[in-house]
Amino acid sequence: MSEQRQSKIEDIYIESHEWHVNTGDETIHAKRIAGRFRSFRWYASALWILYFAMPYVRWDGQQAILFDIPHRQFHLFAITIWPQDLWMLSLVLILLAITLFAVTAIAGRVWCGYFCFQTVWTDWFTWLEDKIEGNPIQRRKLDAAPWSTRKIRLKSLKHILWMLIALLTGLSFAAYFTDAYDLWYRYLSLDAPLVAWVVLGSLFTVTYIFAGFMREQVCFWLCPYARIQSVMIDKDTELPTYDVERGEPRGKLHNKNNEKRGDCIDCHLCVGVCPTGVDIRTGMQEGCITCGMCIDACDSMMEKVGRPGGLIRYASRKEMDGEMLPALFKRPRVVIYSLILALAIGGIVYGLTHIPPVELSVVHERQPLFIQMSNGDIKNKYTIKAINKTANDLHMRLSIVGAENVRIVGEEAQDINFQAGTLIPFHVFLVAKRDALKQERTPLTFILESLNGAKIKLEYESVFMGPVGK
């Protein structure tokens, strides 16, 4: 082994003074600056108002979005989803995952920067903090100051408002699973079921702690999507990037020695506004949620000093290297993601438009498989389970085809009334002359047809069992 390759343990740590690993030792007080991306963040976070409002929206006299777990029905506006239709859920999950992948491949962690609840709630919480305790300098001073009436007043006001938001977050979540107005009444009269309190308590605690205290630490150390998305970024991905060529060597605006310097005036504003405490000038890194706050900050500063904006801008690695970015449809990842997306959307649309109004299942009695009647005929018993998923009662006719020797016992077994939205199993008996049976298993098909309302025809394959050759 050569002398060169033998490295000492100290060598590994040579650069350690340059590492900054954000482990939450210090609260990040980010400055808030107006700008394009700041506005976009507000618009994006406004979407989350829907989360609070949706439980109160009614549709046909019913809660528009209601995940009714006791009754095993999901209501989405006009659509009712039964457990049998839940295969669509997997497509929805694929859709969400692929959307995340596709967006990340094109423009990085857009979800993290603008839409994620962690980002949005933290943004609201820090906005309140900014309004109550003042700008970052005042906030740091207040944190360091000894306890006083003023400090207690400001801090308690902030925490009460945070808790209110957290409480409303938990309550809104619970409201998706039961009638929202009734839930309010039950919470206020302290009469809610235990599970409702547990949901409220958990959501409250997590919101308060994650958005109030942990903030960017969640993105750094807890969130798996942050790491997953990091590996989806490639050289084509548009990310907030510091233009090193133009910016370096950085230095103060007032240049006494008239050295040749880049456009970066080293004002540290880009670091000061970053909600995760990242210095974007050292390059793309795990802490960057691509929220664009540093772009707003840098642009505003460049404007002040009379230099062109865009020293920090959304750009891909290839663009920075002077290469042309290939067209979207020529990027294999974009094409493949789009294909999967289209398939998933197609499947969901098909599923939602083709929810069968009635679901039929026929269970052949297993013990006994068949029974001999007093006149020598052979009888088989079947349990019919049919759910009427429509909102109206259905009058339907049950018949069998495929086995000419087998007939249904009793007229009343053939005409059935199915109550709306219910499943009540019932029995049907089939008989056959013993001599007419040619084999032990005679295949046959049950047919269920609607006699009123929309045309519905369902088929279910079954068998008739008999003692042939015994």
Partner: protein, 287 residues
């Protein structure tokens, strides 16, 4: 949060072997927090729940929790859910219960376990019976009647079949002829001569003049239709001979047939019997 790992600056114990120092790094904070949280939880658990085994039993714990208590609470909760339905079942008569699809289904499902516990031992889990020993409940022959009222009566009070022993009462040749007639009847080949003997010998008193059982069931003897293709006991000539010679449920006749159904009226509640009757009725579609 953990400090940054800088081993070259970490204090050591002064132990060094071949250039490897034993450091005195404290355990990570999260680890210590977990340790303390664990023992605090353990102490709380010991105080609240049964935990420390003593000579005869364990400490009780402040909450007074026991497994059997939790089980009983769960059972009580289940009973509470069922109570309103059971009340409806109690208030309705058998036929009305059959007509109400929801309650019929409730009864049938509830009776599943009752049937398994009380009936399946003889009649089979699907009510298929045991050939020659216990009658099938799934076919269309009802020895005592297949309407709800009679089924409830059968379960409540039980049944005991009765057929006299004819050995010595009827000449042996006639007994043989009667057995031939009964076997032939079940195949639809019973002769007029046989039927005449059947009536002369007094069989018709219970089994009916045409050997089809019929009204005689009202007597509660359970005398079956002898012309159908179902057999209460055995279908062979020997089997039939034994039944005619030694009868059913005859005292002091060792070879007699046994056909006894115990009464469940004291063992099961009226609601349970009613639900059981629905289940039995639905086994074969009832009458």
């Amino acid at each position: 949060m953990a400090k940054q790992n800088k081993p070259q600056q970490a204090p050591d114990t002064g132990h060094e072997w071949d250039g490897i120092r034993e450091l005195t790094n404290p355990p990570p904070r999260w680890w210590m927090i977990s340790l303390h949280a664990s023992w605090i939880f353990a102490v709380g658990y010991i105080i609240l729940y049964p935990s420390i085994p003593l000579v005869h039993e364990s400490t009780k714990g402040l909450l007074g929790w026991t497994q059997i208590k939790e089980f009983k609470e769960d059972v009580a909760e289940n009973e509470k859910i069922k109570a309103p339905f059971l009340k409806q079942v109690a208030a309705m008569d058998g036929e009305a219960l059959l007509a109400d699809a929801g309650l019929r289904n409730f009864s049938e499902s509830s009776a599943k376990a009752i049937f398994g516990d009380n009936c399946a031992a003889c009649h089979g889990s699907g009510g298929q019976g045991a050939p020659g020993l216990f009658p099938s409940l799934a076919d269309d022959a009802w020895l005592y009647g297949g309407d709800m009222e009679t089924i409830i009566e059968t379960i409540t009070d039980g049944r005991e079949g009765n057929m006299p022993a004819h050995k010595g009462e009827i000449a042996d040749a006639d007994i043989e002829a009667l057995a031939d007639f009964v076997v032939a009847s079940s195949q639809g080949k019973g002769t007029a001569k046989g039927l005449a003997l059947f009536n002369e010998s007094g069989c018709a008193d219970c089994h009916g003049e045409d050997a089809q059982g019929g009204f005689i069931n009202d007597l509660g003897t359970g005398a079956p239709n002898l012309t159908d293709s179902l057999w209460r006991f055995q279908s062979t000539r020997e089997g039939v001979l034994r039944t005619i010679r030694y009868g059913v449920n005859q005292e002091d006749v060792p070879q007699t047939r046994t056909a006894i159904m115990p009464a469940f009226g004291e063992k099961l509640s009226p609601e349970a019997i009613k639900m059981l009757a629905v289940k039995v009725h639905e086994l074969g579609g009832g009458k």
